[in-house]
Amino acid sequence: MAAVLESLLREEVSVAAAVRWIARSAQSSEEDAGEAAALRSLQPLRKEFVPFLLNFLREQSSRVVPQGPPTPAKAPGSSAALPGRPGGPPRGGRGARSQLFPPTESLSAAAEAPSARRGGRRRGAGPARERGGRGPGSLEEGVGAESLLWAGSRRPRAAGSPGSPSRARCDPPNLSNLEEFPPVGSVPPGGAGTRPSRRINPTPVSEERSLSKPKTCFTSPPISCVPGAQPSVLDSSPWGQGPAAGCRSLQEEREMLRKERSKQLQHSPVPACPTPEPGSTLPTRTGSLTAEPADPAKVSSRQRLELVALVYSACIAENLVPNLFLELFFVLQLLTARRMVAAKDSDLEPSPGVLDSLESPLFQSVHDCVFFAVQVLEHQFQVLSYLDKGTLKLLAENERLLCFSPALQGRLRAAYAGSVAKVSLAMPPSVQAVSFQPETDNRANFSSDRAFHTFKKQRDVFYEVLREWEDRHEEPGWDFEKGLGSRIRVMMGQLSAACSHSHFVRLFQKQLLQMCQSPGGAGGTISGEAPDVLNMLGADKLGRLRRLQERLAAPQSSCGPCPPPSFPGCQGFFRDFILSASSFQFNQHLMDSLSLKIRELNSLVLPHPEPSDEDGESDVDWQGERRQFAVVLLSLRLLAKFLGFVAFLPYRGPEPPPARELQDSILALRSQVPPVLDVRALLQQGLRAHRAVLTVPWLVEFLSLADHIVPMLDYYRSIFTLLLHLHRSLVLSKDGEGEMCFLNKLLLLAVLGWLFQIPTVPEDLFFVEEGQVDVFEVDTKTSEHGLDGVPVVDQHLLYTCCPYIGELRKLLASWVSGSSGRSGGFVRKITPTTTTSLGALPLRTTQGLQAQLAQAFFHNQPPSLRRTVEFVAERIGSNCVKHIKATLVADLVRQAESLLQEQLVTQRQEGGDPGQLLEILCSQLCPHGAQALTQGREFCQKKSPGAVRALLPEETPAAVLSSAENIAVGLATEKACAWLSANITALIRREVKAAVSRMLRAQGPEPAVRGDRRGCSRAFADQIPVLGPPTQHRLERGQARRLLHMLLSLWKDDFQVPVPLQLLLSPRNVGLLADTRPREWDLLLFLLRELVEKGLMGRKEIEACLDSLHEAQWPEDFAEELATLFNLFLAEPQVPEPQLRACELVQPNRGTVLAQS
């Protein structure tokens, strides 16, 4: 691998060729022969290149004192072969994720590892073995241990040496020992025996997870693995030693205790790391640590850094790296590197001969790091520009970035200014009970009085338990199992009848959805904008209070860019309930119910409005669409997570994954068990239907809770293969017709990247052979009807689903706080004191209260009532906008036209600027837009009640009916007025402008209107279907429609010569339609209508054309259908469309006029 990098650095191979080489198996012909030859010899190593590169970068940066947690690279152990020793030893099965050690050492250590590991494992699992040991985020009792291990493994530990002997982590590094810490750059190539180990401390083997396979997650050198930056010194950092670090050895704990004591004694942040070796300069990871300034002038080898940055960026862009955001995090760590640990002089003075090879360290100073980081960020600007506003601000304000690339800083600043993506994770909602619905809950739904009364009691016990949990779960020392376990089991024990189980499961699942659907609790339904209501109060203080509230109450995510799956907040209650209940009946019913609901939601038809080219009014519908999508997606993710949790629960345990010998029998056993839900079929359906943006995020949640065996099962392996292929195909830079929307892709990349980092997912899975990947066809081209092409994901949803992306912001923020000299810690520690008093901030304003009342109104009503009211509000609101457009705006356009007529008469005498004319017209007419709100309100008030009344059942009580009507009116008005007040002026402007240009054109070719758009025909040359076998080049209906739109606008606006449009309807052309099946009559009808509407052809003209068609010879069925279509067209009322009428007044047929001129 290094050979490839070497040849790159020596410029024997171009970067483009290298990336092509990495990404595709086949050598493409365009490469020049020399490059091809250079690379072909390295062919067998191709797939190991990316892991090598990632590990190489991590290793090179190992002397950097960073912020934040280590950035793991989960790359299989492609041995970092040195030049001249390509390949290294063959990897046995799934190797260590990072193999940066001399193979001899690995081999020798492997022998002694198992026993030591087993012992360590037990130690690690110890604290979590008691029932109470579940951490707030960990999966469960048993898995708790594992996730603790995991959490531990991501600490900036000197991790990863798969075969390193068991040694306490806090052993002071012996820097003077050249064998242990040889200078990195001084290794002679080829000498495997003298290969240096990394200058990091060995990991206690207790963190190893496997007996047979040396497997640790995230073993590539974390960036903070510098001598002196001992993990145990990081306790100010939330990444370091949270309560979850349960896998420490006793010795370590003693060490910590000792340090704690000494700290208390000295009352000052004394570097608590082991006494440094005399003479070496060890940085202290304490508050006093200041960052070294970075200077572009002092960058050591620009060219080399640029090259590596280019290759690295290309790998990121092609999705060859497992986790996009992890790499971004790593790059930002480099950007915000505090300083480099001083190395031996020989490190810093590379001999000239080896400057451009891998022999000298890539990053020789902070300047190099920052330079490299900025280079990469420049290439990743597009992704950065889609991050939330807060991150953009921090990036744009980063002084290093400004210093190294003012251009990038400028772009970021612009992106910040244009960004509306404020993301804030609001408070969780307070608990609300599932309402009693007589249809499902009364006596008639139970087999006996006894079952009915038992369930009555159970409901009460369930909520009693929930309330107690709510009150006490944050108390130190309180334990779910001890506090509530027996009560839960007694209650579950009372469930005798199977039907009672399903009742209870329904209650459980509903409550789960109600409480945990989204962190903001903004159910996205009726007045889901509870946070916005708070914002509307306007007071700056309130905003600040909320931000503070967020910081206090938002879970202090402190697990870096790839946190393990966890059950934050209320989800913890449901997880613990399932565990404490430990009832197989309950679990089975729950799985049934969750599966059903997942299927139901996954196949929910989310109506999306026809994308219309010019009209912004579809925004009205899109807001609702997005909100609905978010609700469905978040619900699905929650349900799938719990389904995964329960389904794989019996197979997860504290013990390490089974040894290889045992695996076969386990696999044989497991592979014949049908999956709890046929997720593969759902995934395939989702991909086919272009609904990946909905299906994949929940599937990832489901898979994230699988056990170690699952990815080895054929069934699930094929799912992973599909996902991998999908991941590769989501190239962000590809943007065009039919591509998935950018944020949709970004969401999928984020969740998939996260999944690939989960310890149960085999580390070599990502870097799998292409041969296997190509089994399935994944097509990311979106069809008209697929969700993937609809911008359903916004930043808020992205950050809600992937809170770990916010780690980027935290990292940058901590740089700011650190560089201001106040605190060197990654995130300032805030101890929450009272969160409840803040959390229960009541909305006492009239508006807030009314919104709450409206929300509450639906609580005890059947769900259909709510759906009806929302539907009515949605449609009436949308129609209201259309109504305003057809009445008020159309009137204004008419006025504009008559005003224009007058103006034109005078103008002809005086001569004037049409631009000015337009301004005058707009300034006269736009103020009338204010009427839109009044008229809109009237419209909603008039239309909504009738619709609600018609749709609700007769027996609806009068009071309920009238409230429902009022709420529908309110919501419809809100929706319509919000859109109108934001867009009415622009709408009037646009329409008036269109009218003006129409009329001016009619006056004759105006220089101002005549634009040079010669290139425009190229714009869709690639979209016109090539004539040929029609079946293959069939356009999607929407594409065809869009194409027609483009053509129409081209004919209308851009052609300066007459267009012989009548040829469109020549018998020969119409005859082409006869061959297509099904025949696209609606497209033809659409075309005819548009020709008339756009004023391109008069009705009379079209009628004449159609008449002539009768004479032609057609297949009989075709002739019939054609006749029907013509009748349909002719029967259409001749609506005096304003613009049409205007055209006809001035100019009945533009084609003829142009011909005359």
């Binding site: 409901r459 009460d460 909520y463 009314q850 709450q852 409206a854 509450a856 005890n860």
Partner: protein, 318 residues
């Protein structure tokens, strides 16, 4: 009348040794006029500035009269509840066979001397037990002696409800005296309590109708198959003092800790579990500190709320 815990404890302390008879209630007022009424007055003075008694101007005399009558009802309610707690504590010692024998003997002795004298009532007062319950003990003992089979509970209850059916005229008279003079236990008190409860439900219904708030009452809810039924469920929720209210429960008693916790467990939380947040009206007041679940969805009031916000026309409009 909303009392603080401290005020309540003070009053309860005064009531501790008072037997539950009309005479003692009268005596209570005479014996502790200053203590009781001072604490009352004191409370009233302090709360007059609070919104609870910010009544219409010029109604101060009417108001004080109202408060005085309301205070008496509250006092009676507190007294009754405190007395019940006392009885629960001492119940067992009056039901040992020795105690029963001794009481029966003393009753026989007493009526033997003078059948018209309130023997049983005085005995009850003397041993600090509720007269109605004493009457029940003696009646049971009497029936055991005169019938072969031990009397059933329903027979005893019906004899207590209508003492004229008791075969022994003297005992009938004695039992009657006990029942009419007991203001805490007995069929008469039960009847009064039931009537008061019903009366307040009617009162609440009228108020809801007057305010034009539509509701489902307990009977309608039962007919629909609800498993737990508050007095009223509002068809359209309202807000009281900023809190959403879905249901209202009427309690014609004073809300002390003991009864409130029992109600919470058996009723209020069950309502919350099904219908969401709601309102409890303790018509005779409650201990202020108990009103601590407002944020959680159980609001306490001592009267029908005045600050009711309903869903407005075009509510969600900006």
């Amino acid at each position: 009348m909303i009392l603080t815990k401290a005020q309540y404890d003070e009053i309860a302390q005064c009531l501790v040794s008072v037997p539950p008879t009309r005479q003692s209630l009268r005596k209570l007022k005479q014996r502790f006029p200053r203590l009781v009424w001072e604490s009352w007055e004191d409370f009233r003075m302090r709360s007059s500035s609070s919104r609870r008694y910010r009544a219409e101007p010029g109604a101060s005399s009417r108001r004080s009269e109202h408060i005085s009558s309301q205070s008496q009802a509250t006092l009676l309610s507190i007294f009754s509840q405190e007395y019940q707690k006392h009885i629960k504590r001492t119940h067992a010692k009056h039901h040992t066979s020795e105690a029963i024998e001794s009481y029966y003997q003393r009753y026989l002795d007493g009526v033997g001397k003078n059948g018209a004298a309130p023997v049983l009532l005085e005995l009850a007062n003397e041993v600090d037990y509720a007269p109605s319950l004493m009457a029940r003990i003696i009646l049971e003992r009497f029936l055991q002696e005169h019938k072969e089979t031990p009397p059933s509970k329903s027979v005893i209850n019906s004899l207590l409800r209508d003492p004229s059916q008791i075969p022994d005229g003297v005992l009938a008279n004695q039992v009657y005296q006990c029942i009419v003079n007991d203001c805490c236990y007995g069929p008469l008190v039960d009847c009064i309590k039931h009537a008061i409860g019903h009366e307040h439900e009617i009162l609440l219904r009228d108020l809801l109708l007057e305010k034009n708030l539509s509701f489902l009452d307990e009977d309608q809810l039962r007919a629909k198959g609800y498993d737990k039924t508050p007095d009223f469920i509002l068809q359209v929720p309202v807000a009281v003092e900023g809190h959403i209210i879905h249901w209202i429960e009427s309690k014609a008693s004073f809300g002390d800790e003991c009864s409130h916790h029992a109600y919470l467990h058996d009723q209020f939380w069950s309502y919350w579990n099904r219908f969401g947040p709601g309102l409890v009206i303790y018509w005779y007041g409650f201990i202020q500190e108990l009103d601590c679940n407002r944020e959680r969805g159980i609001l306490l009031k001592a009267c029908f709320p005045t600050d009711i916000v309903t869903l407005c026309h075009g509510a969600a409009a900006p």
